[in-house]
């Protein structure tokens, strides 16, 4: 039965203006069994994530239906730094400033090894900074970041289910819920945990 939300597939959104690099990152991610969506710009990424750039100014407009955001479940965003228009850094900032998106881990890719650029991104909340060309060994580093968000989501979903359902159904689900909660607690993860900005900083070079 599909009571516990144990979706094995992680969904990664990859952002890069280069077609070749989009093809590469897509293959890298699919080889690692992730579900992948690629877009060629930061603004398209925000659109896909359900965030209208003008959201804050016009809260009453239904320009981007909130329904889109609920249906799209992105577990990680990996973005190129150098892009025309909105850079990867700008995209990172917008995601971290959004109440609905700020918990999505973001990874930056860049062809240039610029220490000030790297620290700026890490300070803004990026999980990792990969030097291009990105390799399978880099993509393997994404797993812990993805696992962390999935656990949080499962706890959140279980709690919502418990609140909505009647006692009889609660009896049925509470067993599986307890199992999931116990597992999450063993791993020392709680939904209210504040992530330190610099955790997991890894500079990967060739």
């Amino acid at each position: 039965m599909g009571m516990a939300t144990t979706d094995p597939q992680f969904h990664v959104l990859a952002v890069d203006d280069s077609l070749i690099d989009r093809k590469l990152i897509e293959r890298l991610l699919k080889t690692s069994s992730y579900q992948v969506t690629t877009v060629d710009s930061g603004s398209k990424a925000l659109e896909f994530l359900g965030l209208n750039e003008n959201d804050r100014n016009t809260p009453n407009e239904t320009s981007v239906s909130p329904k889109i955001h609920q249906e799209v479940d992105v577990n990680l965003v990996i973005t190129d730094y150098c892009m025309p228009g909105m850079t990867g850094y700008d995209l990172l900032k917008k995601i971290k400033e959004s109440s609905s998106l700020k918990n999505i881990p973001v990874v930056i890719m860049s062809s240039e090894n610029v220490p000030s650029r790297i620290s700026r991104c890490m300070e803004e909340g990026a999980e990792e900074f990969f030097l291009k060309p990105v390799r399978l060994s880099d993509v393997n580093k994404l797993k812990p970041h993805l696992m962390r968000t999935k656990c949080c989501k499962n706890i959140q979903n279980q709690e919502n289910q418990e609140n909505k359902q009647s006692q009889e159904i609660q009896l049925q689900t509470s067993q599986s819920n307890n199992n999931n909660k116990r597992k999450a607690m063993d791993e020392g993860i709680s939904p209210d945990r504040t992530r330190p900005r610099y955790s997991g900083f890894t500079l990967v070079s060739n």
Partner: protein, 154 residues
């Protein structure tokens, strides 16, 4: 046997390309992403690189031909070409792009023109070599064999 000979040629040819710096380890990474579900992956990505490069080289020629040269635009094109060549492991093309960007930075037209020529040369070289390589691969597959990239010890 024909297949053995072909496979030996393939290994010798690629070994030379790596040794002479035409290709770097990123090229072998591409093969790691190729499998039965994506058997043409390397050829597809390299084809994209060919298309991209030809377009960019044309754009660069045009841009350098202007009376008022826009070095920012030229740098942007070269940056793109450097990126794509790096992504497929075309090392010499990538390196010639690095020199190119240096001349852009100091707005040296002569230097840029000379670099463009070099980029074009390197591009044509690697294009010929990769096309020959893919031909060899086709022959191997036609003879019932598979490409062995395990021996690319990089």
């Amino acid at each position: 046997m024909e297949l053995n000979r072909l496979q030996r040629s393939f290994l010798e040819y690629t070994a030379a390309l790596f040794r002479e710096g035409f290709l770097d380890s990123q090229f072998s990474q591409l093969y790691q992403l190729q499998d039965e579900s994506n058997p043409e992956f390397v050829v597809e990505v390299v084809s994209l690189f060919f298309d991209d490069s030809e377009r960019l080289i044309n754009d660069l020629s045009r841009a350098l031909d202007q009376t008022n040269v826009d070095f920012k635009k030229i740098d942007a094109h070269v940056h793109q070409l450097k990126g794509s060549s790096s992504s497929i492991g075309a090392q010499r093309v990538k390196n010639s792009c690095v020199s190119f960007r240096n001349f852009c930075e100091v707005q040296n037209i002569e230097g840029c023109l000379s670099c463009l020529q070099q980029v074009q040369q390197e591009y044509l070289l690697i294009k010929n070599k990769l096309e020959a390589l893919f031909q060899l691969e086709k022959q191997i597959v036609a003879a019932g064999g598979a490409i062995n990239t395990v021996e690319w010890m990089l």
